[in-house]
């Protein structure tokens, strides 16, 4: 996966978890928590979905890497390069 594909993959997952949010205006560097109204259970859902769709694990200690769209992409890109 290219970095752009990883970003899209993350956005697709967020869209299923927060179906009412408008994700087209997301600031890629700002925290997702406020922008997409995500709570800690939502982040858990993202982690579980990443594992299901791409067999990628995000250990608990790395959860803060998912804070923004850009930080998520940067963190996941190497893990998903061969997917």
């Amino acid at each position: 996966m290219t970095k752009e594909e990883v970003r899209q993959a993350v956005l697709d997952i967020i869209a299923t978890i927060a179906p009412d949010e408008d994700l087209s205006t997301i600031n890629r560097d700002a925290p997702l928590r406020e922008q997409a109204g995500l709570d800690s259970m939502d982040f858990l859902d993202i982690v579980m979905e990443l594992r299901k769709r791409y067999n990628v694990d995000v250990p608990e200690k790395d959860y803060m890497e998912l804070v923004s769209l850009n930080s998520s992409t940067n963190y996941l890109a190497p893990k998903m390069a061969d997917k």
């Binding site: 978890i17 259970m41 858990l44 859902d45 982690v47 579980m48 594992r51 067999n55 694990d57």
Partner: protein, 462 residues
């Protein structure tokens, strides 16, 4: 041939059901074993002659349940959740009706209790920002003393509903209070329109659609362990194999009875032995005669004749502090029946060893005192009653198989033990009411989701 599953869930309470559903949606082959004749655990109901349906624990839950049900169950379930707007307090210290949300509680603190606005805002800010990783040494009593020193009435308003909701006391860690209170105090109290039976039926249908194998009347007897890893369950005399087990049964019986303490490290068992169970409950179920009506007196009534709030007195047998949940016909659209459930907290020991004669006598007293108390709010209640029945800690123990009839799981220390199970035995997980935070309908469902994530990780070995 022994049947093989990815995961076996022992117990179909809200935590077990949700965990099963999450794992099935995630692509795992799941078996759910339930000892009782129906799913739901303590999220249950029963029917009686005359068209009566009684809900055991549908008293009210936080708004978060809407989002949780939508994500982990269905939009249809989420869309049936409605607000209960009349929450009424009546005791010698104060009497009013509230919508039980932050705005109204702030108003009450100011107008009814003359608390300074700054103190109110600071209190709400403090409890809102509490989280699991904070200092756990401060008790709820100390929290109240800090903000409302010597103010028994405020303590009562803030504590009594939460004590009914999850069995917590003034001696429990302040963070457990803070987390639960800010969940409830955000937007008020909500319920499921349709009743518990409709909710559990909807969940059972979803489980079936998602391919979960559900077995009722199948009490688990043994969790099978080899080389510090689970490999199966014996239930109803039958053996099933699996890579992961999630017990939604009582935490302590999962360890001591199903698995056996010898499989765990000694210092872990030492911590298990320190886990305190929460109290049990008594309930009185009152079915109103068909055709009779009850004027709206509120949805949830926190009533008491006790002079002030006292955690210990709340469980005593001569308690006068009780919650009335009034179920009007609109909770079950299409019906015209009313029912009332009176709930009190209770100690198992007060009921456990009574002779049959004394047990019946005390149950009758429980019923009589509940009707006496209800008469204040519905003066002609005696004339309108068609059916009445009581449940005690013995009843709770019988149906849920929880040790000592615990109706709110374990105290705070149980959470750590619950979460550390898989470190002791590979593939052994627990979900259910533990640690006060993971309690109540919303806590149970969310903990089921959290554990499902851990099980999924274990099964995918990634």
């Amino acid at each position: 041939m022994v049947k093989k599953y990815d995961a076996i869930i022992i117990g179909g309470g809200l935590g077990g059901l949700t965990c099963a559903n999450r794992l099935a949606v995630s692509g795992h082959k799941v078996l759910l074993l339930e000892s009782h004749i129906k799913l739901g655990g303590l999220a249950t109901w029963f029917k009686r002659k005359g068209g009566h349906i009684f809900d055991i624990s549908l008293h009210g839950f936080p708004i978060g349940m809407i989002k949780t049900c939508r994500k982990y169950w269905s939009k249809q379930i989420a869309d049936s959740i409605v607000q209960l707007k009349g929450i009424r307090f009546d005791n010698p210290q104060f009497s009013f009706t509230t919508t039980f949300d932050k705005v109204d509680f702030k108003r009450l603190l100011k107008e009814e209790f003359s608390i300074n606005q700054e103190v109110i805002d600071d209190f709400f800010h403090t409890v809102r920002s509490m989280n699991f990783f904070d200092d756990q040494s401060m008790t709820t009593k100390e929290l109240f003393e800090k903000f409302f020193p010597g103010n028994d009435a405020v303590t009562r308003m803030l504590m009594e509903p939460i004590a009914y909701a999850n069995g917590s006391t003034l001696d429990d860690p302040a963070i457990t209070y803070g987390i639960v209170f800010s969940n409830f105090m955000d937007k008020g109290v909500f319920t499921f329109r349709g009743g518990t039976d409709v909710l559990i039926k909807a969940m059972a249908d979803i489980l079936e659609t998602n391919g979960v194998d559900v077995r009722l009347r199948s009490p688990a007897q043994k969790i099978l362990v080899r080389d510090k890893k689970v490999y199966g369950v014996i239930a109803n005399g039958e053996e099933y194999h699996c890579d992961a087990i999630v017990s939604n049964a009582n935490l302590i019986s999962t360890i001591n009875d199903f698995t056996g303490a010898s499989h765990f490290d000694d210092d872990f068992i030492e911590n298990v032995n320190k886990v305190r169970l929460n109290n049990s409950s008594c309930q009185v179920y009152i079915g109103i005669k068909k055709g009779e009506k009850i004027d709206y007196i509120g949805d949830l009534l926190f009533t008491s004749t006790a002079g002030k709030f006292d955690s210990k007195m709340l469980c005593a047998k001569d308690v006068t502090s009780r919650t009335f949940s009034i179920y009007y016909p609109d909770i079950r659209p299409g019906t015209d029946m009313y029912s009332i459930v009176a709930s009190t907290n209770a100690n198992y020991d007060d009921w456990a060893d009574l002779s049959e004669e004394n047990y019946q006598r005390d149950k009758k007293r429980l019923i009589d005192t509940s009707i006496d108390a209800l008469e204040k709010y519905i003066p002609d209640i005696r004339r309108k009653i068609d059916y009445i029945e009581a449940a005690t800690p013995r009843t709770f123990k019988h149906y849920t198989r929880h040790l000592r009839g615990a109706s709110f799981g374990t105290k705070f220390e149980g959470l750590k033990v619950s979460m550390e199970l898989p470190k002791q035995i590979g593939g052994l997980f627990h979900t259910g009411s533990v640690g006060i935070i993971m309690s109540g309908w919303l806590g149970a469902v969310n903990y089921g989701v959290i554990v499902a994530n851990n099980v999924d990780k274990h099964l995918r070995k990634c």
